[in-house]
Symmetry: C2
Subunit: 444 residues, 2 copies
């Protein structure tokens, strides 16, 4: 079974529910919406992962292996298993295009499909959209903290498995990073690859200068040398020596990387050694345990830094490693539906998000019903119809998602995108939605 495409990458209960739905002919149209309940650590979210979600929906087929597992499990009847052989996703998907800014409670993705189809896809759809949205929403914070300094994704080794490592490269690039170290992320999503050397490379040589020189001669177009294996000062001095040796052959040192110690102090010392040695063009790249807060501190110190590598903190969204994502049934057989317990009622009905822009700034969003006539720009677009991509869904383009996010950041006032204690962006409910919710609460 192919990990990336198998419909068995799902929770068992999706399948047990489906058997019952089919037995009772519960195949009418359902509306499910995907949203994030709260954003305690984030002022806003960045939508990401929709292209992978649509790709997965397009290719959703139960093959012989899947059906054999279902039969062998003893949990399903033969009629249901046979029926799943013809299962396809035939529904409509509306979504905020990738790179959109969105907020808690706003549907970022909406599925309109026969109930069993809309139900089955829940687990993997969330698995896909949640992770990339999580990482884009984290990575954009490093990008904001770094300002004009390029940020690079180094995180694959401690990302949670290979799909996470690959998708993190994509989500970080979408969020404005300049490159990724992960080859597969580069190959699949056409992201600039980047990378230099590990400490092991230096250690495998009998001396640092030989390691530097060999690497430079082997990769003359991309000479970035790791200078902190033994001592940063000596490492920087050796770079100057090696540069003099290489100059007659037309090879120059493009950059150095510092991966430990006090990065700001080390960068300043390195800058002065390089400048004194005539290497004023040689860039300084730092890495090692960085996140948006440490990047902010480096920038506050005016550290002479030309590139920033981030890894584990971003690729695992370490301060908030999951979002309170939900995928909920809000309409079935044209009747609004919602969970109502402990005094709290879901927002029922098929919805739309209307964004208001004033003088170039986002001034507030309204969550309303899709059929309400409300001012503002609707954010959910139809990207799939009858199981086929349409509109924005057809020719997905990571570069335009990057641009969309860039535009969104410009439109979002600084107080709403502050790294610490951002102001709550105004999101209100339309009168129609409030009335529907209250009517549902009374009925239950």
């Amino acid at each position: 079974m192919n990990l990336e495409t198998t419909p068995l990458l799902t929770d068992l209960y999706e399948l047990t529910m489906l058997q019952t739905y089919y037995e009772h002919g519960m195949t009418d149209e359902a509306v499910f919406e995907l949203f994030m309940r709260r954003a305690p650590e984030r002022g806003f979210f960045v939508s990401a992962g929709l292209d992978q979600a649509l790709g997965w929906l397009e290719n959703l087929v139960f093959g012989d292996e899947e059906l054999e597992w279902m039969a062998g499990s003893g949990l399903f009847n033969a009629a249901f298993i046979e029926r799943m052989r013809d299962f396809r996703f035939t529904g409509t998907v509306r979504a905020m295009p990738e790179g959109s800014l969105f907020f808690a409670e706003e549907p970022v993705l909406q599925i309109v499909a026969p109930l069993p189809e809309a139900q089955l896809i829940e687990s993997r759809l969330m698995n896909i959209v949640h992770y990339q949205t999580l990482i884009a929403s984290k990575a954009v914070r490093s990008r904001m903290a770094a300002g004009d300094v390029p940020v690079i994704d180094f995180g694959m080794r401690r990302a949670h498995g290979g799909e996470a490592g690959t998708w993190a490269a994509r989500a970080c690039y979408l969020a404005g990073f300049g490159a990724t170290a992960t080859c597969l992320g580069s190959a699949r999503y056409n992201i600039p690859p980047t990378g230099t050397m590990a400490h092991a490379f230096i250690l495998a040589h009998d001396d640092e200068a030989t390691a530097f020189e060999r690497f430079a001669r082997s990769h003359p177009d991309n000479v970035v040398l790791l200078i902190d294996t033994y001592d940063v000062r000596r490492g920087a001095e050796r770079v100057v020596e090696v540069a003099e040796k290489l100059a007659p052959d037309g090879i120059r040192i493009h950059g150095v990387r510092i991966d430990s110690g006090d990065l700001a102090a080390n960068a300043r010392m390195t800058r002065s050694i390089l400048d004194a040695g005539g290497l004023t063009e040689t860039r300084i790249i730092v890495s090692g345990g960085l996140d948006e807060y440490r990047i902010e501190a480096l920038q506050r110190e005016n550290a002479p830094i030309d590139g920033i590598g981030v890894g584990s903190n971003v690729d695992t969204s370490a301060d908030a490693p999951f979002l309170d994502s939900a995928y909920k049934l809000h309409l079935y057989q044209d009747r609004p539906r919602g969970k109502h317990s402990a005094g709290k009622t879901d927002l029922p009905g098929r919805k739309q998000v209307f964004r208001h822009i004033e003088a170039g700034r986002m001034s507030g969003d309204v969550i309303g019903l899709a059929d309400e006539d409300l001012p503002g720009s609707p954010l959910l677009e139809t990207v799939m119809r009858e199981g086929q991509r349409v509109g924005e869904g057809q020719a997905w383009d990571l570069e335009s998602a990057r641009l969309r996010l860039g535009d969104g950041l410009t439109q979002l006032a600084p107080d709403y995108r502050a790294l610490r204690e951002p102001d709550a962006y105004p999101v209100t409910l339309s009168p129609g939605l409030v009335a529907l919710r209250d009517a549902l609460a009374r009925a239950l």
Copy 2:
């Protein structure tokens, strides 16, 4: 390119380093060791993921697609790309078998191979072993807190991508969980599958009782009903009513699930309603934002709970979403190697971990050199030789890893495995290793 097998799921720098290694004939034997530097949130680690690591090493081949990407990147010369066509992993792997307890600084995996081979595998090897070890080390804490109550993995939807969701099922089962909701995890690793219904199932019906009855008749062998969609008390009462209706047909209610509210109070109320209705055998399963600390609190309250579902907190190891894992060159051309900066020196040389057991309890580990003659049981076993699985590596068995972990927990005194502020288990360095490290530090 197949996500699970492609060698391009790596950091670019592994490839750039390899080109230089080959150009200079740096293909002698190297020893790299994988270890965790610190364990701030954990008293101990549980080794996991070695079977996937060995499987990946066995099948490591650069196919046409990989070589074309390398050529198209413009980052490598033609001779190197052609050479990679014949690349195979031919080395030796020593490792602690899965389910072993281990501690910070102890090598859990050791690679002995020609330098380029040992280098190339770094990123993906860490990606595989780090994540499963992270999750097994987190999940075992829920298992310990739950005592005799079975714990179930529900976390795939918010795990970081599909590989994480699938591996989390495996790592949790290794750690002692009873089942997983993730079908692919069940199918691949022969883990008991589990699952019932979502709130959407209840909401799609016009009333809760109909939903309960339909589900029970559809799945008479596994009737677990979700009772908190509207009101837990009414839900429990409806379960009793539905049970009476189903009894003549020989269908009984095996369990109920509560997913929100004060779980202990809800469980107590539900237990008394079920018992009063004669459903003394119906089990109560709770879920919703649980981790080891909340499970501990439920147990302290003596909540009448028969099953515990955990999800996001465990599958993302939310309180510590990555470990300080490292994969370092410690020997090349028979010379000890190690990074030495900021006054800290790596532990060089090829090592072994020796465990001391006294009166059935682990009394201390010694990290020594592999060729030292030291007392205690050596923990690193040879699992691969010349790129082929040998010994424990040949017939991996998740059940025996579970048993190994169970034995280990029995041998580890409670103070070392406390959930909060565990005592530091004694790990010391052998005289030979200390001498080697100090000699290396002096030489640098």
